[in-house]
Symmetry: C2
Subunit: 81 residues, 2 copies
């Protein structure tokens, strides 16, 4: 079983990395880009024997405790079969 975790800064938190990418893209001529926000992406392989619910609970715990900083970041978990 596989899981994906997306971690992004909360929308109220300034994202200087994304702004830098945005300015770079505009100066390279990509004028259609209105906004860029950058985050982290994790592909997690889970060993067999877990149900979908157990896998979701395990990965939610990991995302909350280790992968993201809930003070300034939000995360989203997807479980793939």
């Amino acid at each position: 079983m596989k899981a994906r975790v997306f971690v992004t800064l909360k929308s109220t938190v300034l994202d200087p990395q994304g702004q830098t990418v945005h300015h770079a893209l505009n100066s390279l001529g990509h004028k259609a880009i209105a906004d860029v926000r950058q985050g982290k992406y994790f592909e997690i392989g889970l060993s067999g024997g877990l149900s979908r619910e157990e896998a979701l609970r395990e990965v939610e715990t990991i995302a909350h405790d280790v992968l993201a900083n809930p003070v300034i970041e939000e995360y989203r978990v997807e479980i793939l079969d």
Copy 2:
């Protein structure tokens, strides 16, 4: 219109960052984790007036030329309405 770009190292390329996260999770007691690979995630806002096909072409170009290094990384683009 919004787009998402996921950039990950090719599966043949070693991912020391992901391995470090994997070992950290195992040592914290998350034994069900078999593998972790880390990548980058971009949320891109596009200004109006682009068709879905134009947006996809624009974001594919940006992903290939700027956001990813195609020698060692692969990318995936999603267009959201």
